[in-house]
Amino acid sequence: MRPLALVLASALVAAACGGGEDTAGNAPAGPPQRGGELTVLEDAAFGGGWPTGLDPATNSTGGANLSQMGAIYGGLFNLKANDDGSNAKAVPNQAEGYKMLDGGKTVKITIRDGIRFTDGTPMDAKAVAFNFRRAVGSPCTCAPIWPLEKNGITTEGERTVVLNFTRPFAPVINAFPVTNVNWIVSPTALRKMGEKKFKITPVGAGPFTVVTNKLSSELVLKRNPNYFKKGRPYLDRLTIKSIGGDQPAYQALLAGQADAYLGMNTEPLIEQARSGNQLTVATQPPTSPYVIQLNTKAKPFDNQRAREAIYYATDFDAIAKGLFKDRYPVSQGFTGPGGLFHHEKVPGYREHNPQRARQIVNQLGGLTVNLGTLENYVAIQVMTALQTQWQKAGIKVNIKKYELSTLVQEFNNGNWQAMLQTAGAWDPAAGVGVAFRFSNDSPFSGVNDQKLDGLLNGATATLDNAERDRLYQQASKHISDQAYAPFGLAFAPTNLAVDGVHGPGLTTKIPPIVVNSAVIWDEVWRTR
């Protein structure tokens, strides 16, 4: 018993140590090396779940499965950044380039010459257009929200696909890396296999091909020898495994049974990983801040005074400091520091003032709020802290955590009052962008405000970045003035990798377009 007790005790003492810094972005020793295998873990509740398969047109969780999709399909465009996450840009990958014409109403995308799918058929304009048409009608949250004209997807020659929009659509390219139009399947393989089989063993032109695929359990991939980039990918084999949470994943990394874990959320484990010096810790630049959505279409938040009470009762700075050691910045608008058009302050933003909050609550004759959030470590921690803060201001708070399906039902029912969610994206108009939470026509919005809709639509309709910035600033100020939703800390997940593994998005930083960062798998390598 005694040796066991000693081992346990020493392990627990080691586990209790804290401190340490992010180790991402350190330059790898020497040039990339060819060969080797990598086992990557993802949480079964998010990226590690792909229950509907890996066909971009039918995978309803494609936005969470960026790793699987990127490894199999590569992508027309990739989001790349400096090692520290700065200067992020959507750059052509399988696409050779693009042109925005007619003030943004027409987009011409040229495909690189000579790319072939792993079944040997060419990845040409016809194949890409076929995929675009499938993706547009897809059920995935990652389907593009293009304002397409009728028959708005056409081809020009063998390598150019043309998109015609009804209005200028500025975020079209920035949205590519997180939408399913980025992942091009082989039309021939799809036709031969049928959708049912194809979603299990899909065929793309990416860096890896599927060896076995056990849905939401294990995806084994091998190197595509005919990949269009010479000498890439560096790895021979890539295995993506689903695991039941942060703790077992962390222990599996320490035990040497896996090489990387994507999307760690549990702060104490991140702290431990930083202090342990055994793993590379890459906390991604935050792009999507938490927001307390208030349903202005129903009581009690149809009253602006009630909404103001929530603003004054909320102290996100204290939450960021107390729970997360100030590691995540607090935002006053809908983008985090890693995102485009971010501004630290919004003029006139209502800061924490509990006396003022209590005064308003008294004037209202009391305030009872049902606050909910998605079941997730960080969200639940923040929600519990908010409950305490609001109760101090005299607000009665009932908290509830939801699974995705029940959360969706709550929004659809329209009876919800306050929801702690994330808002925004790397480009506020891409993916689950700001309109998703604030536009009148979104089922996940608690706001019906034509002025705000006008500002957000205006920002997507101009190619002038300065003008977009100005409109987004106005939208932020409008949300703040109307007390529609207090914004909070901008959290971003952390990727962990064992020593000797290197790669963009894995051991360096790339801003998450929505929730997680897209790893550039053809550039990942390991020291041998």
């Binding site: 873990l41 229950p51 398969g53 049912k196 849905l215 077992p248 599996a252 969706v408």
Partner: protein
């Protein structure tokens, strides 16, 4: 035109003897009893699932889907039908061996279950062997000299084991044996086809995490029963009076009697044993039925959930049948067939 030979009277006699044997009658009776049990489990599962909020169509279409899109897919999947109709449809297929297709992936459930059954079956079997294989000798040692060192150590270990949830134990086992000592893998499954050694190595920690609490429970139960037998039963006094040594009395007489209670408890605990796989397979990333079940519940894939629960029910029923047969093996006086 075909002719049939008259039945051989010797064959008929053998057949009637086999059919009339208590064991065969017991098996037949239990199999017949299993039918309403499994039917009841399937109805109950279906009913409970119909009460859970959220549906598969919403999961497939994602949160952006409009109400009309969800309704259309519900129609396509048959989710708009009354629960009774859906249940009868499912049952009609199930009795013909067709467990339907997953609502989420569209893949046949039977195929998915088949590949995962081996993992879960092996995990459960190994956990069972470990728990019983350790509990019996430890309980015998503890009961041989009650309240002495071995008994007290076993009590401390058992109480500790009974107080720790198996998912906490699982993480501790990984910390000690995979992270610190690196003797066992933290995650993953190696199939039997890749070698028995590697296969058992990969299942060691998950099986131990499930087996340890059961081992503790069985040890305490068996030890208590053995001590009762040894201290208070006339047949033990008689055996001792005949000059039989204490170990022989314990093993041949007391243990044989105590086995009945142990078998009953093991049968009753099968649910715990099987249920443990759901969380343990998640922690150790094992591609078994427990993992599939949890994923299916989260995605409201009722067809898969239903199939998993029915498979678990069948395993539990079969295991209890084995327990009943063991009673007959251990005590020839029991003549189930004649009752």
């Amino acid at each position: 035109m075909t002719t049939t030979a008259p039945p051989d009277p010797r064959e008929s006699r053998v057949l009637s003897r086999v059919l009339g044997s208590p064991s065969v009658r017991l098996i037949g009776k239990r199999v017949l009893m299993a039918v309403p049990i499994i039917l009841g489990v399937s109805i109950l599962t279906f009913w409970v699932l119909s009460l859970i909020p959220g549906n598969a169509a919403q999961q497939v279409l994602g949160p952006d889907a409009t109400a009309a899109q969800v309704r259309a897919l519900e129609q396509e999947l048959g989710l708009d039908q009354p629960a009774v109709t859906r249940y009868l449809d499912w049952l009609g297929g199930a009795v013909q061996g067709d467990l339907g297709n997953s609502l989420i992936s569209g893949q046949p459930v039977s195929g998915e279950l088949g590949s995962r059954l081996a993992v879960t079956g092996e995990l459960v079997g190994l956990a069972f062997v470990i728990s019983i294989g350790l509990a019996v000798p430890v309980a015998l040692l503890a009961a041989y000299k009650p309240n002495r060192l071995v008994d007290r150590i076993s009590m401390v270990v058992s109480i500790t084991g009974l107080s720790v949830a198996n998912y906490v134990l699982a993480l501790l086992l990984v910390l000690v044996f995979a992270v610190q000592m690196t003797v066992f893998p933290a995650i993953g499954f190696v199939p039997l086809s890749e070698g028995v050694g590697a296969n058992l190595h990969s299942l060691a920690l998950p099986a131990a995490a499930i087996a340890f609490p059961l081992f503790c429970f069985y040890t305490r139960f068996l030890r208590g029963d053995l001590v009762d037998q040894m201290q208070g039963e006339d047949y033990i006094v008689t055996a001792r009076a005949k000059g039989i040594g204490p170990w022989r009395v314990l093993l041949r007489h007391a243990f044989r009697n105590s086995s009945f209670g142990l078998i009953t408890v093991v049968g009753l605990n099968l649910g715990t044993l099987i249920g443990s796989t759901v969380i343990i397979e998640q922690i150790f990333a094992l591609p078994g039925i427990g993992q599939l079940l949890l994923q299916a519940i989260n995605t409201r894939d009722f067809i898969v959930v239903q199939a998993c629960v029915v498979v678990f029910a069948i395993i539990a029923v079969l295991a209890n049948l084995v327990a009943d047969l063991l009673y007959a093996v251990l005590d020839p006086r029991i003549r189930y067939g004649s009752r």
